[in-house]
Subunit: 344 residues, 2 copies
DNA sequence: CCCATTAACGGCACCGGTTTCGGTTCTGAA
DNA sequence: TTCAGAACCGAAACCGGTGCCGTTAATGGG
């Protein structure tokens, strides 16, 4: 029952093996009666073309490798599912790899991917060395960084307009009358984290303010809680906190409410970044900057498939605007431009 | 720079192409100096063995297909990551597919996997037709259902001991003095959902109680909210709710607290099922039955690799005990056996 | 009715490895 | 010294398809 080959189908249908191949290859010419005979035989035998053999000489595997750091931040499961669905639509299979930035060597993972003859690679939220991206370039392996950039703006990457987003957060909080605005920052080893922080600082400076305090909580929930408690374990405390992503903002909210017994937004305003689905849950009701996962995924896939088909020249970094989604976790300024539409 | 083959390495090292192959195949005999020469040449040329070609004649791809329904319930991202890591340790690559139970045809997805010559398939939380599992059996394709069972107990599957879990929840709530205990049930089209509900009902009956009400909320957050509101839109209302999984329990908590203004556990007790990481967050502090993802993953991978290597006979369904994790969302009975250890 | 064109399809080489087979060299015991 | 056995390694077949080439049959315009 198992392991039916095109040859056996050919024998049964009374045709040559290449004809069987043609029947299963779109855009080829085969007479209708042979098509019928072959399909019949194939169905009876339970034949499925062997993708591996097909890939071997076409040189294309129709497989994309996605490398992820972790799924604890709910932004990534959402993104992974969308990426996978989008790629499936285009006829690609998806191979996933986890490379937490510490123990696993990303280079090793990528070697595994290349050995598997993937047609392209999406590096989602992994901190890649410049060496690695350089090597991928040398090897002409199409790749896109997703939600991570590198300083070199010609490296293909899709991110939010993080600097602008940080700036918007700062302006929003300043306009709301806050004066002691702290930042629970994303990992400063990532461009995302640095850009959001830089935008935040720039936005405050425009208003004649300085950051109250900045902690690099490295995107980790526990760090964010610890750093929040530190912030409030002092004579002077912040009246607003801008968080490097929603995942940390949830932790900050928890520390503020459950541990410190503070009210949000009456005592402290909180703003996040990402707008994951959970941000809209009433327990959190988080004011945040939306990273439009849909659009990011679309751009990412379009960019990658473009590079694979060589139809489009690599575009370098694409930044997608982050809209501020106003909910209840931060005091709203009296005069603030109307909000854009809700979740797409 | 790209596309280095074993043949080119062989030429440069002054050996035959099969010798290069042998150098990269563990358990073969090659003289030390040729190993050195070949490895040297390979490094210089940046050679990586082509996994596709390798798989083609060995018949094994060292790839496992994982089919998922959705990642919104945080149990699945956690499980996916663990499964992937565990399989990586064993030398397998992981291919993911999403098949929401409605639009996508699971059969189609599985066909794609088989065409890709995967060595085995994990069907996580997808509702499979009996046809499909029967077909996979006929084709001798190793597969395991993860967190889903089928009535036939010989079908390889790893689940929690759901009936027992539901029974424990009922006993715990009854012992806590609740008398009007409702159930926001998991999808009755899944064995998981049915077993948990059946165990719950059995547990209540033992105590001389009947379920206050049961709603099939099909594992969806919005349904759970809607059904909770329905429960309380009546003259008599429940004093406890057992939820088919944590994902729905979070929704129920939100409806109770934010929409209905009720206190948990003073007005209503809530018990979930899964013990995802979020259940321990202080905002939720959810009493719940733990599905030990670690052990489930281990069993699942062991079972699958056993079937692939034909070392172990297929074991049929494996049920893993669910411990009750007592937190703050449900009133605790005065006399209740001590709690087992915390998260492993 | 003839010849040029095209559709249909089999033969063969090939994708990049692995595996079998057999020959050569090396080792060590008799 | 002789010879069995093992270690090593190259030639060739093979894994299951695709792509090119050439042959044959069908089509159609003049």
């Amino acid at each position: 029952m198992a392991k039916v080959t095109a040859y056996e189908v050919a024998k049964r249908a009374g045709v040559s093996q290449p004809t069987v191949s043609r029947v299963f290859t779109p855009g080829t010419q085969v007479s209708p009666d042979k098509v019928a005979r072959v399909k019949d035989a194939a169905r009876q035998l339970g034949y499925l073309p062997n993708t591996l053999a097909r890939s071997l000489n076409s040189g294309r595997s129709y497989t994309i490798g996605i490398v992820l750091a972790y799924l604890k931040n709910p932004f990534y499961p959402e993104a992974l599912q969308r990426l996978s669905e989008k790629l499936s639509e285009q006829g690609y299979h998806v191979m996933v790899f986890f490379a937490d930035n510490l123990t696993t060597d990303v280079d090793e993972v990528v070697e595994g991917l290349m050995a598997h003859q993937v047609d392209g690679i999406i590096l989602a939220s992994v901190s890649t060395s410049n060496d690695l991206t350089q090597r991928l370039r040398d090897l002409k392996m199409p790749f896109v960084l997703f939600n991570r950039g590198q300083d070199d703006p010609t490296i293909p990457a899709v991110t939010a307009a993080n600097f602008e987003g940080g700036r918007t957060a700062a302006r929003f909080l300043a306009a709301g009358g806050h004066t002691r605005i702290a930042h629970i920052a994303g990992w400063q080893g990532s461009l995302n984290g640095r850009d959001r922080q830089a935008g935040f600082v720039a936005g405050l400076n425009e208003q004649g303010l300085e950051p109250f305090a900045i902690h690099d909580s490295r995107y980790h929930r526990n760090n964010a809680i610890r750093d929040t408690l530190t912030l409030f374990d002092q004579p002077e405390t912040p009246d607003a906190i801008f968080c490097g992503n929603d995942h940390m903002a949830f932790a900050v909210l928890e520390a503020l409410r459950s541990t410190l017994g503070l009210r949000v937004p009456e005592d402290v305003s909180v703003v996040g970044y990402d707008d994951v689905a959970m941000a809209a849950w009433k327990v959190f009701d988080l004011t945040t900057l939306r990273q439009p996962a849909n659009r990011m995924v679309e751009e990412c896939v379009a960019m990658l498939t473009g590079m694979i088909d060589k139809t489009t020249a690599p575009k370098g970094r694409i930044e997608i605007e982050s809209d501020l989604i106003i909910r209840g976790s931060a005091r709203v300024p009296d005069h603030w431009p109307a909000q854009k539409g809700d979740r797409p």
